[in-house]
């Protein structure tokens, strides 16, 4: 059968539409369409709120290390959190920008698919880059807040304990990556956990990169 013959077969074929038409009407009756529209607006607004929170965090941390610049360990911790906050702002702003370029979904297919894949790749990499440091930050962030709110310098009082926890954090980071690689490719019941494992093991990155290659290949062939 030639492709032109297929066109004739296709023209004679029609999908059974009754059920689908009813679905469309039902969606408007249930106001589901309006909810879908507002959900997208909330998503962009959520990103904007996220950026504002990161900016507030950086301003707070900057004022903290400036105020404690004469205490070396507090200055270093403050600067580390400052860098982390700037990375958070950069990640949120980039995601907001990438999201705003795709959210209407009306760009030509290849352009939109490329942008969407780039967004997925960026989101995955930045989530990992901002998530793994929490093996250390769970202790450093409360330490900064405690010093700021009550003037108690936890580090000065229990530096050994804090260094021990930092070491546990380093081991934990390595263990998380090792475990993700071990679990990669195995079926996991929880979709959330499956996504975390795929992200951490590099499976998602490999898949997204493959999709970008496919798009480029389709464009150039």
């Amino acid at each position: 059968m030639e492709l032109d013959e297929m066109k004739q077969v296709w023209a004679r074929m029609d999908l059974h539409q009754d059920g689908m038409e009813a679905l469309l009407r039902q969606d408007f009756r249930d106001r589901r369409m309006d909810k879908a529209r507002s959900a997208m607006r909330w998503s962009l607004l959520g990103q904007a709120v996220g950026i504002a929170c990161w900016v507030a965090f950086v301003v707070f941390v900057a004022s903290f290390w400036v105020a404690h610049r004469h205490v070396t360990h507090l200055l270093v911790i403050g600067l580390l959190l400052h860098v982390y906050g700037i990375a958070g702002i950069w990640s949120s702003v980039t995601q907001w920008f990438l999201l705003s370029r795709i959210y209407l979904f009306d760009a030509p297919v290849l352009i939109l698919q490329r942008r969407l894949t780039q967004l997925r790749r960026f989101r995955m990499v930045s989530t990992l880059a901002l998530g793994l440091p929490w093996w250390f930050l769970w202790l450093l962030v409360p330490l900064v807040f405690l010093t700021w709110s009550s003037g108690t310098d936890m580090f000065a009082g229990a530096s050994g304990w804090i260094w021990a926890n930092m070491a546990v954090g380093a081991v934990g980071t390595g263990f998380s990556l090792w475990l993700a690689r071990r679990l990669a490719g195995r079926p996991i019941k929880s979709p959330w956990l499956q996504r975390v494992v795929d992200d951490m093991s590099g499976c998602t990155l490999a898949r997204v990169s493959r999709q970008l290659d496919e798009i480029a290949c389709f464009e150039q062939e």
């Binding site: 059968m1 030639e2 074929m13 038409e21 698919q113």
Partner: protein, 174 residues
């Protein structure tokens, strides 16, 4: 234009072009339930984007194809589209001919058509859908974001591939 009029205009345009939504959903889903979900997802995205639709920039059908294909391809990619997940033909009760002729009485060409489309990746599937829908190369290029020459080359390659497969199938059957 009031919100009510805006919605009525959208519903009227969508009703007029609903076959496009159904065909795209049918081609990118693996079951009737999948297809219904995809129809809802596409129509929700169309409604989200309708506020920005500018008829001076693109025909409604072109705009609709872009969104419908983008939603369908994104969903296919999100669901880890792989060799194992390739297309399975819809159940026969989901298909009928325009004249109401039962599918069983159609020749095997429809099955062959679906089997062929089933081998294609999501992007080539979009290309073949537009071809089967008798869109001209200019419109296909506008929807996909390719040049007209590129579209023509790809169609020609698909034709060759199909011809090769049919020849191989005929020699195997002989």
């Amino acid at each position: 234009m009031t919100a009510r009029q805006h919605q009525q205009r959208f519903e009227s345009l969508l009703h007029e072009h609903r076959r496009i939504v159904f065909k795209v959903a049918g081609l990118y889903s693996r079951s009737a339930a999948d297809r219904d979900d995809l129809v809802q997802e596409i129509s929700a995205q169309l409604w989200r984007s309708f506020g920005s639709y500018d008829e001076a920039r693109a025909k409604f059908s072109t705009w609709l194809y872009r969104i419908a294909l983008n939603v369908a391809i994104s969903q296919a990619r999100r669901e880890h589209w792989s060799e194992a997940d390739r297309f399975e033909p819809l159940d026969t009760h989901h298909l009928e001919t325009v004249g109401g002729e039962p599918i069983a009485e159609q020749d095997e060409r429809l099955t062959a058509l679906y089997a062929f489309i089933g081998q294609l990746d999501p992007l080539n599937r979009a290309l073949i859908l537009l071809y089967l829908e008798d869109r001209n190369y200019g419109e296909m290029a506008e929807i996909l974001g390719l040049s007209e020459t590129n579209v023509a080359t790809k169609i020609s390659r698909i034709k060759q591939k199909l011809r090769g497969q049919m020849t191989a199938a005929a020699s195997t059957g002989a």
